[in-house]
């Protein structure tokens, strides 16, 4: 159906076309030039039917239809090729004269114009061609300027003046034949300027000729040789061209001076321009005060609505300049600036002296501070440096700061540990017998250090016990043990050589998270070297995996330098294995005897945790060598086992970061037996005693079943838990 319709349409078009074919004349266009008349054009046909003088008739109706028939041609259409213009410039609704830019000198140009109504797109035909030749610069001395109207201005909305420039056309310089015309309102004639001011090239319109709210148009014409050229044209309305005269009679008074004498407020006074009729309300002005310090180039401004206004916060002792200008409210332009007003507020003498003194003091203070800073920075004394520039405390978990241990600040550590139920801070203070194991933390390169084993076992046995070998890849622990106690080692049990490492490594995350304290006291410096028992070693787990560095790193700084007596070269076949030993006895010379004990899978963490506690606690020797007492170790062991026995009392044994529950739980300590008399190394002395419970007074109640004989004499440096009570006040 649609196809049929399309076909019919096309046929119809063809048919119609054939009717209005090129055989006959066609109407090319209808055009209106000024919207008052219009013209229709048609083209002659090319057919041979028509003679040359055939006549055309044009019929029109006011309605939609238009019928054409033949008639005598009265209008010839314009044909011919039109050279394509190289430059087209659109001048939007401008009146002559108009400048055209960017012409090359020395070339000849052809200029022509055409026009159209603003809202329609149809252009008229082209005007005549104007030939333009721009001579080269040698022949042109001065650029030609057209005369033009520079501006019209009314100062008070009652009269106005228009100004123009004459330009430098040769024809005009001889005699100023410029004439000025104006029209007022719509459809009026051009009238000449009522009052010429020739010396100023302006035209003045007084009150009789001035009407507000009516549009004026002005023209600058040349009458020379009746050429009647219009040089410039301008239209405006008086209420838009109001530009007042500047204010007059500037003056100022001092309002007040600040207490310090540095700032002052002033009141600026002036008068409105006399031409403006403020009184009647015909003009209402607003003002702008601009001021700046003498040397500055930036003007600050303040707006004012009346003829006086304060200016605040001017510095005394400086000279200021003030100028004013005004403008009609809601209309018009700003006036020119008034004359400058110079202001100088003298500063009080005492102010000047005070400021001088102030400056002197400031300079001295700065000098002093810089000197001190230099001194601090470049001083060699670390103490002074630390005093002035203390290190920024890093966040850490509540626990022991290795630095504290290093410095041996007993009190702080005490306070830290006091929170722990089982910690008796003053436990060891009075006991001169107690000496402590010197515990060292390793260098980063743990491999260079000797394993604990070496120290404990002495050099002879170092190679024999393979089960002590442990991968010490990244455990940075060293252990420094004094070799001179090797002969005193009675028990070579290294039950301690358990899988401390293993536990630690398993739980390294746990312990590691407690960033603070890490105490991986991997090296238990002991002044002994226990002899390992190879038999017992079989069962020991040789997977003493190295703990990660994290555990050990923190501990490095914590403790003191490794004891110099440790033989660094002692490499044992045991490898680097860290373990903990139960101290069974402390010799009067300060050596520590390890008890063979049973194999304990005491947690490294536990041991670690335990060691720093007591270690930090002691202050019997204000030396950097810290020792863990046997008692401490025992006690803590007891705690650990006690915790095992009574997992429910976890809250009592909340030893924060030192004891992780998992760690403790995993301790498979069978029993903590107290070490017996270490003087008989051949007798296995129970290492740990299990704690039965911990009562509210923070004393430990040991499992009586496992207790060794209470009749055991108190050895030096050896305390039974139940004997703690005797010591603890």
């Amino acid at each position: 159906m649609a196809a049929l319709w399309v076909t019919w349409c096309s046929l119809a078009v063809l048919f119609i076309d054939s009717v209005y074919s090129s055989d006959g004349p066609t109407i090319t266009e209808c055009r209106s030039l000024e919207q008052e008349t219009f013209t229709c054009r048609w083209s002659e046909a090319n057919s041979q039917n028509l003679t040359q003088h055939s006549q055309f008739q044009l019929f029109y109706t006011n309605g939609p239809a238009l019928v054409v028939s033949l008639f005598h041609p009265t209008i010839c259409t314009e044909t011919g090729t039109v050279p394509f213009p190289s430059q087209i410039e659109t001048l939007p609704n401008q009146h002559p004269p108009q400048p055209l830019y960017n012409f090359t000198i020395g070339k000849e140009y052809e200029v022509r114009l055409r026009c159209s109504y603003p809202d329609t797109g149809n252009f008229s035909g082209f005007s005549n061609i104007l030939k333009v030749f721009l001579p080269t610069s040698q022949s042109v001395e001065v650029p030609l300027e057209r005369p033009r109207i520079t501006g019209c201005r009314s100062p008070e909305q009652e009269t106005f003046t228009c100004r123009w420039s004459v330009g430098n056309y040769q024809n005009l310089t001889e005699r100023r034949r410029l004439r000025f015309f104006y029209t007022k309102g719509n459809n009026a004639d051009w009238r000449e300027c009522p009052e010429y001011l020739h010396n100023e090239n302006s035209c003045y319109f007084n009150q009789t000729y001035t009407s507000i709210w009516i549009s004026y148009c002005v023209q600058l014409k040349s009458d020379f040789q009746e050429q009647n050229i219009t040089f410039d044209k301008h239209c405006f309305s008086i209420d838009n061209i109001v530009k007042p005269d500047p204010p007059i009679a500037l003056n100022w008074t001092l309002l007040n001076i600040s207490q310090s004498g540095l700032l002052a407020d002033i009141q600026v006074l002036w008068e409105a321009p006399p031409s403006a009729d403020i009184k009647n309300g015909w003009i209402s002005l607003k003002y702008e005060i601009q001021y700046k310090a003498g040397e500055s180039s930036h003007w600050d401004s303040v707006e004012a609505l009346s003829t006086s206004h304060p200016v605040y916060a001017l510095s005394t002792g400086k000279s200021y300049q003030i100028r004013l200008r005004c403008k009609q409210i809601a209309n018009g332009d700003f006036s020119e600036f008034s004359e400058l007003l110079h202001i100088f507020i003298p500063a009080a003498r005492n102010v000047e002296e005070a400021s001088l003194l102030f400056r002197l003091i400031l300079v001295f203070v700065l000098l002093g501070m810089s000197l001190m800073l230099l001194l601090i920075l470049f001083t060699k004394s670390q103490r002074l440096k630390l005093f002035f520039l203390p290190p920024v405390p890093v966040p850490k978990i509540n626990g022991i700061d290795p630095d504290l241990l290093k410095k041996g600040k007993i009190d702080e550590v005490n306070s830290i540990f006091a929170n722990h139920l089982s910690y008796k801070s003053d436990l060891y203070i009075d006991d001169p017998w107690v000496e402590f194991i010197d515990i060292d933390f390793d260098d980063p390169d743990g491999k260079a250090e000797v394993a604990d084993t070496d120290r404990l076992l002495g050099q002879d046995h170092l190679k024999s016990n393979k089960c002590l070998s442990v991968k010490d890849d990244d455990s940075g622990r060293d252990s420094c043990y004094e070799p001179d106690v090797s002969d005193e080692v009675t028990t070579g049990k290294h039950s301690e050589f358990s899988s401390f490492q293993l536990e630690a490594s398993e739980r390294k995350e746990d312990v590691k998270s407690d960033n603070g304290v890490p105490l991986d006291i991997s090296g238990a410096d002991a002044k002994w070297s226990p002899q390992p028992n190879s038999e017992e070693c079989d069962g020991s787990k040789s997977q003493l995996v190295t703990t990660d560095k994290g555990l050990s790193t923190v501990t490095k700084h914590g403790l003191s330098q490794p004891a110099p007596h440790s033989p660094p070269g002692n490499q044992s076949s045991f490898g680097k294995m860290d373990f903990y030993a139960q101290v069974s006895d402390i010799t009067p010379t300060g050596g520590v005897l390890l008890s063979p004990g049973q194999q304990n899978k005491l947690q490294v963490s536990l041991a670690k945790d335990t060691s720093p506690g007591p270690k930090a606690d002691q202050k019997t020797k204000p030396s950097d060598n810290a020792y863990t007492s046997e008692v401490d170790a025992m006690q803590l062991c007891a705690i650990s086992s006690g915790k095992l026995g009574l997992p429910d009392t976890g809250e009592d044994l909340n030893l924060s970061s030192y004891f992780t529950t998992e760690g403790l739980a995993s301790v498979t300590v069978g029993s903590c037996k107290q070490t017996g008399n270490s003087r008989q190394p051949t007798n296995p002395v129970p290492d740990y005693t299990s704690i039965h419970m911990v009562d509210s007074q923070q004393s430990l109640l040991l499992n009586p079943n496992v207790l060794p004989s209470k009749n055991q004499p108190i050895q030096a440096g050896y305390l039974m838990p139940e004997q703690l009570g005797n010591v603890v006040p």
Partner: protein, 196 residues
């Protein structure tokens, strides 16, 4: 006679001077806004083609005989001047609504629309204020003022609508300036009779 603002309770009198102050303030605002609207319209829609002012001169308020300079204004009676201001104000109500509706239709920048609506609001305020003043001045309330009829132009193509709007805005700016000047003159003459 002071005007009674609060009819239901204690009467609060507002002086004529205060009323005129407020009226002048509003008329300043209206004139500033109308100038802004015209400039923006010119800039954005006519694209800087500075239309010859002679084309756009046929303001519908031209038929109202108003004093054209200060002398004539001073020679006009106060009441008549006030009346003229009111008439001009009222005669712009419809054209302004037409302009606003045209602005909403086209994709005119919103600032022009916003300002125009503000102008309409202010015009209402000013009309109220002036009617209060004239009540007080002429001792008559609700006097019917003559208003000028304004014929909405036939809807034509977009280009001529723009021209028409430009014409409208131009005339409006002129008339707001006229009202502003008259009110300032009247303010002086009503408050300081002798001094002006």
């Amino acid at each position: 006679m002071p005007i009674c603002v609060n009819q239901h309770g204690a009467c609060q009198t507002i002086s004529i001077g205060e009323l005129f102050d407020r009226a002048v303030e509003i008329s300043d605002q209206i004139h500033t806004l109308s100038t802004d609207v015209l400039n923006e319209f010119n800039q954005r829609l006519i694209q800087g083609k500075h239309l010859n002012l002679s084309i756009v001169n046929s303001c519908h308020t031209s038929s109202i005989m108003t004093p054209q300079n200060k002398e004539d204004a001073l020679n006009t009676s106060r009441e008549h001047l006030l009346n003229l201001a009111v008439v001009i104000l009222r005669s712009w109500r419809d054209p302004l609504q037409y302009a606003i509706s045209r602005f909403s239709d086209n994709t005119i920048t919103s600032s022009i629309l916003i300002k125009s609506m503000k102008i309409a609001k202010q015009m209402k305020q000013l009309a109220k204020g002036l009617s209060k003043i004239s009540e007080q001045v002429t001792q008559q309330s609700g006097a019917v003022q003559q208003t000028l009829q304004w014929v909405q132009p036939l809807s034509e193509d977009g280009g001529s609508i723009m021209l028409h709007l430009y014409n409208l805005l131009h005339c409006f700016r002129r008339d707001t300036n006229k009202i502003d000047s008259y009110l300032k003159l009247l303010k002086c003459r009503f408050t300081q009779q002798s001094n002006c």
